[in-house]
């Protein structure tokens, strides 16, 4: 990822002089990553998925001219490099440095559009994030001093911000919904999952004070967003709220079964990114109200419908297998927890179904021209289908 950091700095320079050349170099870089990035373990597998999601998001962004795009693409590349750094690094300090880099870049990218709502969301995100980072630094310092209990306590609370665990996840709905579509896709799909994997890598370092409190917060974090989202009309906020529920479930799985945890994280990343990328063109045409969505955007509607069905946990998509395998693991530990998680997933079906009923309309009309955005959607769809097939194997083995 050092070379990625250098590449992004190089892209900054190129971008000021030749924007088309910048895009061309970016594509070449991604092709190089696809061909030569080695998958050694589960962390590098998730890094590869992050590369796929970033590529799709950047391809999506190519479609429309962005203000200061010469800065946008290098920032995205830097964000990718920081995420790969977190996933590949085996040292807590280096991981923390990449983590801080990731957080900082996330704040900047949320605020990139410079609209009032974006700036407010970025400010809220930054306030929560900085608080979390301070707690993590304290925790890490306790680790080096040898006080593992306090390390685990501060590390967990600090990282809960970025992992979007209730009640420190209140920044998420605004940040993920107000950012531009390609940024939302990456934030929801990769950034919060990377934070979760960061926690997974190091929580076993010590005796970890877990008790029941984190589990209680994770469970509440699935139930409360689902209840509060029932009447939500903004489709981007619906998707953002669902990230909180998915992260709560991921957090529970983290303590139970690594294979199921990673599969669930992969499901969330791919499905959520695809849903944001599919929603983007629809919102541009009809606005940010579920009731205003109509027919006529065939490609984006189909892709959004598939991603929503996956997020709802319907077969034959990856979401179904992820849901089943995760709930089997949770129910082995506690039936009550499993019931609450399933209840919150079920309550959240209501806002999804309100979006879905607008999409299952095929009467021949299509105003959408096939474009780069649809190619980015198809790209992610292929991976969604691939992982859906893998889901059968994981379910049967679990």
């Amino acid at each position: 990822m050092i070379y990625l950091v250098i590449s992004s700095l190089f892209l900054f320079l190129v971008g000021y002089f030749r924007k088309d050349l910048q895009k061309f170099i970016l594509i070449l870089l991604f092709i190089h990553l696809f061909l030569f990035y080695k998958i050694k373990d589960i962390f590098s597998e998730f890094s590869y998925i992050s590369i796929i999601i970033f590529f799709s998001s950047i391809l999506y962004a190519f479609e429309k001219r962005i203000k200061r795009e010469e800065e946008f693409y290098p920032l995205m590349l830097l964000l990718l490099s920081s995420i790969i750094g977190i996933l590949e690094s085996k040292d807590i300090i280096y991981s923390f440095i990449y983590f801080e880099m990731m957080c900082l870049l996330s704040y900047i990218l949320v605020a990139f559009e410079e609209r009032r709502e974006c700036l407010e969301a970025a400010f809220k995100y930054a306030c929560f994030g900085i608080l979390g980072s301070y707690l993590m630094i304290w925790g890490i310092s306790y680790y080096f001093v040898g006080n593992l209990e306090l390390f685990s306590l501060f590390f967990l609370i600090g990282l809960s911000v970025e992992m979007a665990i209730f009640p420190l996840s209140l920044w998420l709905p605004d940040a993920h919904s107000e950012a531009r579509t390609s940024v939302s896709s990456v934030l929801s799909g990769v950034v919060i999952s990377a934070a979760m994997i960061f926690f997974y890598k190091f929580y076993k370092l010590s005796y970890f004070y877990t008790g029941n409190l984190p589990i209680i917060f994770a469970v509440l974090g699935t139930l409360l967003p689902s209840i509060l989202s029932v009447n939500e009309r903004d489709p981007k906020k619906i998707l953002a709220n669902s990230s909180m529920i998915n992260m709560g479930t991921s957090f529970l799985l983290l303590f139970l079964d690594p294979l199921t945890f990673f599969y669930y994280t992969i499901f969330h990343s791919i499905s959520k990114s695809l849903s944001f990328l599919s929603l983007g063109p629809i919102i541009e045409r009809f606005g940010r109200d579920v009731r205003r969505i109509k027919e006529g955007m065939m490609f984006s509607s189909i892709s959004l419908a598939i991603s929503i069905l996956s997020l709802m946990g319907f077969p034959p998509f990856i979401g179904f297998f992820a849901k089943i395998s995760s709930l089997i693991e949770i129910s082995k530990e506690s039936l009550l927890t499993s019931f609450i998680v399933l209840l919150s997933m079920t309550i959240f079906l209501y806002p999804y179904i309100r979006m879905l009923e607008r999409l299952f309309i095929w009467d021949g009309r299509n105003w959408e021209k096939f474009s780069l955005r649809n190619i980015s959607q198809i790209f992610l769809l292929i991976f969604l289908i691939f992982f859906s097939i893998r889901g059968v194997e994981i379910c049967m083995s679990g």
Binding site: F314, L327, I328, I353, E357, I361, V392
Partner: protein
């Protein structure tokens, strides 16, 4: 066997490409599936496929009714063809997966797909906001009941470590019942939810917002019987007395409650929905007392007469029971075979199954038997007393004729099985005379009109309450029902209650 499952996948994707030809392709596919019945081999086959008596009965119900409904839909469904045929074929696939497989993962897949198909087909007229709202409500209620179903499945998988119920040891369930006492209730609620039984029965009323073909296939014959099928499958493999007892209790409550409520229902489709709930309650009563043979026979008989009624509904051209009339140019014999099967008159199979179920399981079955005959005669006599319009003799009429003939053919089953007439047969003429007096050529009985005057809106008394419309007649009926259930053993009190209810009527 796998080719059978590939066929609906193939036809559903073809439907997406060409909506106009989708209907004919789907009909051909359904015909092939029906014809494959003769090639089904008994026994436990590879990939977790089990073929036995239960499978065969449900297979014949599913394939024959699907074929008939698909043919009917060729002329009935004019808009949104791609969406309609796609989900109909997907539904067919889901039901085939459910009835052929013993693998719990496949069962969960089919269970989820059934909810999705039901929602999509109910909201066929998606431009109507009321239809969309009702479809959403149906989806949410079935999803909430699915919580209990999925939890039970997870418990079974966690304890047995096996996805195939055919290979699970019976001792696993004993261990589960010992460690998790609420397991039978969880499993029952999950199964009863899909089959529109108490306490989840009300979703079926909202489901009537969908087209009649959807009501005929999904919400009377096949999807609502998914729960009944699964309970029969589980009880055929394992000895679970608390589970069967729970089904018996809830089935009885659903049956009695829906029969009473149906007596006051004027809208035909909602009336038929209540009737479906009642008949499913009977099926669960049979399953709950381990008379799976009776449950299967009643499922068969109910599927045919109920789907006939739903497919006949568009020919009434009226929504009100007291305004609808029989189509002029459809053979009276055909119509009689459908309505008599619905009412439950010997020699029709429904009489024997209903009487046998009630007789087996209730010491004093006469009140329930009377109710069963009375509620169906109310509708049948009201409709038969009027002549409706003439209808076009197209594919829809052919389907009605076919169903009429099938209802007639089912009368051979009691002969073959050696069923006997029960003593409660004397209640049939009583119910007939009472219904004739009250409903033959009448616009509406005056007592129903009087009771309506006492309706009130609970929001006037308690504005913060959710909107519930309660009428005096519903309150009185609920009290009578409670008394009825409390005094099961007391013959004289039961008779007194029946007289009181008749007086109220």
């Amino acid at each position: 066997m796998i080719e059978l499952l590939l066929l609906p996948i193939f036809t559903s994707f073809l439907s997406l490409m060409d909506g106009k030809k989708a209907g004919k392709i789907s009909v051909m596919g359904a015909f092939v599936i029906l014809a494959s019945f003769f090639f089904l081999k008994d026994g436990y086959l590879q990939y977790g496929i089990l073929v036995d008596e239960i499978t065969k009965v449900f297979y014949i119900i599913l394939s024959s009714i699907s074929l008939l409904v698909f043919v009917y839909s060729l002329k009935y469904i004019r808009k949104n063809l791609r969406r309609y045929w796609f989900f109909m074929n997907l539904f067919l696939l889901s039901m085939l997966l459910l009835i052929l497989s013993t693998n719990l993962l496949i069962i969960m897949i089919s269970w989820e797909l059934l909810s999705l198909c039901s929602w999509a087909l109910i909201s066929h007229n998606f431009r109507n906001p009321e239809t969309r709202r009702k479809a959403r409500r149906v989806f949410m209620v079935t999803s909430i009941s699915d919580i209990f179903f999925l939890l039970s499945i997870f418990i079974i998988i966690a304890y047995s470590g096996n996805f195939d119920i055919y290979k699970i040891d019976g001792k696993t369930f004993e261990e589960i019942s010992k460690n998790i006492p609420i397991f039978p209730i969880l499993l029952s609620l999950g199964i009863l939810g899909k089959s529109a039984q108490f306490p989840f029965y009300f979703w079926l009323l909202d489901a009537m917002a969908g087209p009649s073909t959807v009501s005929a296939l999904l919400h009377s014959s096949t999807m609502v019987k998914a729960g009944a099928y699964l309970s029969m499958r589980i009880l055929s493999l394992f000895e679970l007395s608390s589970f069967s007892r729970t089904l018996l209790i809830f089935g009885t409550i659903s049956c009695v409650l829906s029969l009473i409520l149906s007596i006051f229902e004027r809208r035909i489709k909602r009336f038929l929905a209540y009737s479906t709930i009642a008949n499913l309650g009977l099926i669960f009563m049979a399953v709950g007392s381990k008379r799976i043979d009776l449950a299967l026979l009643h499922s068969l008989s109910h599927s045919f007469f109920k789907s006939s009624l739903f497919l006949l509904y568009p020919f009434f051209f009226e929504k009100d029971v007291f305004k609808a009339g029989i189509p002029r140019n459809i053979s009276t014999i055909i119509l009689l075979s459908i309505f008599l099967s619905f009412v439950g008159i010997p020699p029709f199979l429904s009489y024997f199954t209903e009487s046998s179920i009630i007789k087996e399981f209730l010491p004093f079955s006469y009140p329930l038997s009377f109710l069963l005959h009375f509620y169906s005669m109310r509708f049948s006599l009201s409709v038969f007393s009027r002549k409706g319009r003439s209808v076009k003799m197209d594919e829809r009429a052919i389907v009605i004729y076919t169903l009429g003939v099938l209802n007639l053919l089912l009368t051979f089953i009691p002969l073959l099985k050696g069923f006997k007439v029960h003593p409660d047969i004397f209640l049939i003429p009583i119910a007939f005379l009472l219904s004739y007096k009250l409903y033959w050529k009448k616009k509406r009985p005056s007592f129903e009109k009087i009771l309506d005057r006492f309706s009130f809106d609970i929001k006037e008394i308690a504005p913060s309450f959710p909107k519930i419309r309660l009428s005096l007649k519903k309150i009185v009926l609920i009290i009578l029902l409670m008394l009825f259930l409390m005094n099961f053993q007391n013959y004289f009190v039961l008779i007194a209650l029946i007289i009181l209810m008749v007086v109220m009527l």
